[in-house]
């Protein structure tokens, strides 16, 4: 039972990086029937840098 609301890192990331997440999601959703590895790499890298920034300390 959580007495205080501990916000999990993933939730913080999703809140901070909404723009990149939306771009990445749109990219994948557009190509949905044929999914291959590292299909939307550029968008995902943008999301990943945002994630690392969030985890490093709210840049």
């Amino acid at each position: 039972m959580k007495e205080k609301k501990t916000i999990s890192p993933l939730r913080r990331i999703l809140v901070n990086c909404t723009a990149q997440a939306n771009e990445y999601g749109a990219c994948v959703a557009a190509k949905v029937p044929e999914v291959e590895r590292d299909m939307c790499l550029k968008e995902f890298l943008a999301l990943k840098t945002c994630m690392q920034n969030t985890l490093r300390g709210k840049v």
Partner: protein, 318 residues
């Protein structure tokens, strides 16, 4: 919500083979008749001699323990399911003095019961000890004090209930985690008196299809392969076969679909965790990379989001 509604009339098969003496002899005869039935049809569901393990029961028990702490007492979804299930009791004219409740959402069932079906003796059974402790402590607050309740820790696949001893078996969202669903249902039938009732609600094949799709796509993109994240669930068309195969006389199946909206994929996962429904497949990979989780959330949002930013999740009950 599909409910398995069975009424087992006094089995003429048993009567024909009954010797005037011992019960153990009759038990032996009835079990052989069931096992030959198993060998005859070889359809998609695994027959009990092969004992295929799909789910990790120990892990499921740990998850149920955690759910006992996390589940809010007024969880609307679970209560809606239980209410729907218990409503079925009012369709039958019979009274059920003894009832057995198998795990899943025990507390919700008891709260919804409120005197329907004239139940006098209630046996609650669950694999998780913590869940039973929770039910016991909340019994003092509820108003069902005239019902004598007993609590048993047991596995749905190995029912510790004497044969032909209960009038009613209820199982709300518990049976879709059994390794051997036909076997569990057969054991329920054996525990029932002749002309007893079996009511169950399990999740069907369409459940969480958005989550399944999002997980698969994300994992394909990030890692290039897929591993099972959502457990195999019974299909609508197989439900009737299951019932007849277990030997119930009047099977009835209903399907119901709930679409629940969440603010984000994380909320969905938290809710599943609180209900004790998270992944317990034996074939699961324990590793979920942070990137893959992030990708799944992003894809879920983009593919299935509604206009107000919430995401839907389908739960199909039968």
């Amino acid at each position: 919500m599909r409910r398995f509604l069975f009424s087992q009339t006094s089995c003429s098969l048993l009567r024909r083979q009954r010797r005037p003496k011992d019960i153990p002899h009759r038990w032996f005869i009835s079990s052989t008749s069931f096992s030959t039935a198993e060998y005859e049809d070889g359809d998609a569901f695994q027959s009990s001699p092969s004992k295929v393990k799909i789910f990790d029961r120990h892990l499921k028990r740990t998850q149920r323990d955690r759910a006992a702490w996390l589940l809010r007492p007024n969880d609307s979804f679970v209560h809606a399911v239980a209410e729907n299930l218990v409503d079925r009791l009012e369709d039958c004219k019979k009274t059920f003095p003894t009832a057995l409740c198998l795990g899943g959402s025990l507390q919700a069932v008891r709260q919804m019961l409120r005197g329907r079906g004239a139940i006098q003796k209630f046996i609650m059974m669950d694999t998780s000890y913590d869940m039973l402790k929770l039910c016991k402590s909340s019994q003092r607050d509820s108003d069902n004090e005239n019902i004598e309740t007993s609590y048993v820790v047991g596995d749905e696949e190995f029912l510790p209930i004497k044969e032909s001893s209960v009038d009613l078996v209820i199982s709300c969202l518990g049976l879709h985690w059994t390794n051997d669903l036909p076997g569990a249902m057969i054991q329920c039938k054996l525990a029932l008196k002749p002309d007893g009732l079996f009511l169950a609600a399990i999740l069907g094949g369409e459940t969480l299809k958005e989550l399944r799709i999002a997980c698969t796509v994300a994992q394909m993109d990030r890692e290039g392969g897929i591993s099972p994240r959502v457990s195999p669930l019974a299909q609508v068309r197989d439900a009737g076969n299951l019932l007849t195969r277990a030997g119930f006389a009047l099977p009835g199946v209903d399907v119901d679909e709930y679409v629940v909206r969440y603010n984000s994929a994380l909320d969905l996962i938290e809710h599943l965790r609180a209900m004790g429904e998270t992944n317990a497949l034996l074939q699961r990979t324990n590793i979920l990379k942070r990137e893959t989780a992030l990708a799944t959330a992003a894809i879920y949002d983009s593919m299935f989001a509604a206009e107000d930013g919430t995401i839907p999740a389908t739960f199909q009950h039968m």
